[in-house]
Symmetry: none
Subunit: 420 residues, 2 copies
C-alpha cells in the first residue's frame, strides 16, 4: 500500500507552528503496519494544494490530507479537491444536524458560516467529528484517472485541529482503514537507547555483528541526540518478529550496559522507578546545569517520593552555605574541580539524609573557559552508601546542549551504580 | 524565488521523531522575506529521496535538504544527490582537517568512518560544521537540466542534528542566501508575546481595533503556548513596514503590560538582562516546578551574575532546613499555601542575600490533589526590598504544562515588579 500525507496550512509554511500531524499520523499508520512513503506540506492556496494532491493521486493508493475543512476563509481544501476531481458538493443533512446539536450542547447559536462544513463531495464517506463540527471525508477514485495503471485510490480529508483529528482517526478512520487495507506484512519496530558512545562508535560496534540480520531484511536506523544514540530496528518480512528480537539481543551484547532503555524511556524515568521500588532517596547539587537535572527528575510523576532536594549553587558562597564545601577546597582546586564536585555530593547527601547525591560543577559557556579548564569542562560527583566517586568530561557544545549532555552523564553515573 | 524543503529520515516516516527542521527553517526563511512553497519528507531510501529531489529541481530556484550527511550507513543523501546530478565526490582536505581537529578537541581518536563526511561533490561550496563534523554543501546547477525553462537552481544540503543545522544556517547559510536571493517584495513580520491572557481573550481584545489594519492587508496570526500567546503581524504590500508598525502600536495599547516581549524573547531573557544592568541578584525556591525555574534562568548566558542560588525543596524537611520555613506554618497552612510560599521566598532571600527571591509551592499532579487544593493549585511568593507578596493560580494541566505555566507566572510576577 503506497500512502502519502498532505498537510495544508500557511502557518506551517511561515514556520509559526510545528507540524505534529506528521509524526502522529505516521506513527499511527506504522503501528497498523503501513509506512507513509511521502509527506508534503503546502500553504492554504489553490495552486499548491491542487498540484500536491494531483501528484499524490498519480502515485498513491491512499492519500490523507489534513486541514482546510473549517468555516473560515482560508479553509479551502474541500472545495479545491472537489474541483480537481470534478465532484459536486452537496449539503449532507446528517452533518447539518450534527453541527446544530454541537452548538446546542454549548448553548450557543450556530454561526451561519459553519454550515459550509456540511458541504460534502457527492458519494463521499462521511465521518462525523465528535470533538468539533467539520466532518472527515473519504472519496474512492475507482478507477483513479490520475494513475497510469488505472488502479483505484482513496483520498481521505481530515480536519486540522489535533484534538479533533486524533480521536476521529482513532475511533473512525483506523477501523475503516484496517478493513480496507491489509498491510502486506506486519511491521515490527524496536528502538534501543544508548548513552556514553558517539553515533559513529555505536555503528562501528554494530556493523559486523548486525550484517547477518541486514542480509535477512532488517533495517537499522541511528538517531543521535545530545548524550544519547537511539538504534532503531525494523523489519516486515515473514519472521520479522524473531528477526527484530534476535537483532535486539545482538545489539545488547555489542553495546553492553551502554544500552539503558527502550522506545521512549528516559534515564530519569528508570532512576525514579528503580529508586522508588528500592525506597531509596536522592539529592542533587548543581552548578553548571543550573537546575536542569532536578527539572528532568521532577518531570517524572512520583519523583517527590525520591528527590528530597535539589540545590542550584552557582556562587561559591552558596556552595559553602548550602552544601558545606570548604573554603580551602575552593581556593586550592577552584570551583570547577573533582574535589569540589565530591564535597558538593557529600554535603548534599549529608544535609538531606538521601541515599545518593549527585553533583555537577563545570563551565557551560559561552564565557568563563581557561586553557586548563576550557568551556565544556564538567566534574560530576556521586555520593552513596558505598562512598564517593567522580568523573570528568569535556562537552564543548553550546550552552543548552552542554547542560543536557552533562545532566545525561550525571544520570548515567547514578544508573551504573544502582542498576540491578 | 521558489523554495522547496526536503527532509530525509526514516525516523520521520515511522513517526518516531517530530520534524522540527520544517518549522525552524520555514521561520528563518520567512524572516528573510522568503516563503517556502513546499516541504517534503521521505525515508532514507534511494528511490524516494532521488524522486523528491528530482521533482523539486524541476520547479524550484532553491532546494534545501536536511539529514543524511553523517557517518552511518543510513546517511545516504550526499551520495544519492551526487549520483542524480552526475557529480564526482572528492575528499575535501579542509573538511578532513576540521574533523581531525574536532576529535582532537574532544581528546578522542578520530573514527575512520567519519572520514566519509569529507566526501564533497566536485565544485560544491562547503560550509564547515562548527558544532559537529559533517559540512553543509551547496551546489549550483547552472543551467538546471531538470527545469524546462533552463534557469539555474541551487541545491543546499544541511546536516540533520538541530544543534548542528541551526548555527550553520544562522552563521553561514543565511548571509550567503541574503547575497544570492533578494525577496520579491519585502515581507514584514513582527511577533508580540503576551502572558496572562488566554488566546480567545487576546483575540477578543484585538478583533475590533485591528479590523482597519486587516482591511489594509495585514495578516494576523495567533499562537497559543503554555502561559503565553504570541500575536503575529505580517504584511508584504508596499507600505507594509508602516502598516505593521501601526498595528503593533494598537496591539500594545489593547493588551497593555500583558505584552512582555517581541520575536523570540523569553521572560527569563528580559529578567536576566534587566537584573544584570541594575546589578540586582536573584534566588529561587521551588517545590512543584522542581528546578524548571532555575533551569530556565540558567539557560540565559550571563545568568551566573544574577542567580545566586536555586533551592528545589520537595520535602517539608528540605523547606525547613534550607529555607527556614517554620514547622508551625507547615502544620497550620499545609505545604501548598500562601503562607509557606511567603516564608520560602523570605527565607531564600535572607539566606542568599539576593535582591529578590521567587518561590513556588503547588500540586503538579497527576496525584496529590484535594477538594480544597486540586491538582494544578500553585502559590507563588516574591520577596524583595519592597517587602513580600504572593499570588495564587490554578493551572489544571498535565504535569509538564503545569510546570511550564507556573514558572511563567513566577517570572511574570517578578517582571511586573522590576520592569522599568
Amino acid at each position: 500500500v503506497v500512502i502519502e500525507l498532505i498537510n495544508t496550512g500557511s502557518e506551517l509554511m511561515l514556520g509559526r507552528v510545528l507540524n505534529t500531524h506528521q509524526q502522529w499520523l505516521c506513527r499511527e499508520l506504522a503501528d497498523l503496519g503501513h509506512l507513509v512513503t511521502r509527506q508534503v506540506a503546502v500553504a492554504d492556496q489553490g495552486l499548491p494544494i491542487q498540484a500536491a494532491v494531483r501528484e499524490s493521486l498519480s502515485r498513491a493508493d491512499l492519500i490523507i490530507t489534513t486541514g482546510g475543512l473549517g468555516p473560515t476563509s482560508d479553509d479551502i481544501t474541500r472545495d479545491l479537491i472537489a474541483e480537481l476531481l470534478g465532484c459536486r458538493l452537496i449539503e449532507d443533512q446528517n452533518v447539518v444536524g450534527h453541527i446544530a446539536r454541537f452548538f446546542a450542547a454549548l448553548k450557543r447559536p450556530m454561526p451561519e458560516r459553519t454550515r459550509v462544513e456540511a458541504q460534502v463531495p457527492e458519494g463521499a464517506a462521511v465521518f462525523l467529528n465528535a470533538h468539533g463540527t467539520a466532518p472527515g471525508l473519504a472519496i474512492e477514485l475507482s478507477p483513479n484517472p490520475f494513475r497510469d495503471d488505472a488502479r483505484s485510490s482513496w483520498l481521505v480529508m481530515l480536519p486540522g485541529p489535533p484534538r479533533e483529528l486524533r480521536p476521529m482517526f482513532t475511533d473512525s478512520i483506523k477501523p475503516w482503514l484496517q478493513r480496507l487495507f491489509k498491510p502486506d506484512a506486519p511491521l515490527f519496530c524496536r528502538t534501543l537507547r544508548s548513552t556514553g558512545l558517539g553515533e559513529s562508535i555505536v555503528q562501528g560496534k554494530l556493523e559486523a555483528p548486525m550484517q547477518r540480520f541486514v542480509n535477512q531484511g532488517l533495517e537499522i536506523g541511528y538517531c543521535a541526540r545530545p548524550g544519547q544514540v537511539d538504534v532503531r530496528l525494523a523489519a516486515r518480512n515473514p519472521g520479522a518478529a524473531e528477526l527484530v528480537a534476535d537483532a535486539e539481543k545482538t545489539v545488547r551484547e555489542a553495546l553492553g550496559r551502554r544500552v539503558f532503555g527502550v522506545e521512549n524511556e528516559e534515564l530519569e524515568d528508570l532512576i525514579i522507578r528503580w529508586m522508588s521500588e528500592q525506597k531509596q532517596t536522592l539529592a542533587v547539587a548543581e552548578s553548571c546545569t543550573g537546575g536542569l537535572l532536578a527539572n528532568r527528575l521532577t518531570n517524572v510523576p512520583g519523583a517527590s517520593a525520591v528527590l528530597l532536594a535539589g540545590l542550584v549553587v552557582y556562587s561559591n558562597e552558596a556552595k559553602r552555605k548550602f552544601l558545606g564545601v570548604r573554603e580551602e577546597t575552593l581556593a586550592e582546586h577552584g570551583a570547577v574541580s573533582a574535589a569540589v564536585a565530591l564535597e558538593m555530593a557529600a554535603g548534599a547527601r549529608e544535609r538531606t539524609g538521601a541515599t545518593y547525591a549527585l553533583s555537577l560543577t563545570g563551565i557551560a559557556g559561552p564565557g568563563g573557559g581557561t586553557l586548563q579548564k576550557p568551556v565544556g569542562t564538567v566534574f560530576i560527583g556521586l555520593a552513596g552508601p558505598e562512598g564517593v566517586a567522580s568523573v570528568h568530561h569535556v562537552n564543548p557544545w553550546d550552552r543548552l546542549t552542554f547542560k543536557q549532555v552533562s545532566s545525561q552523564q550525571a544520570l548515567d553515573l547514578l544508573r551504573m551504580r544502582i542498576e540491578k
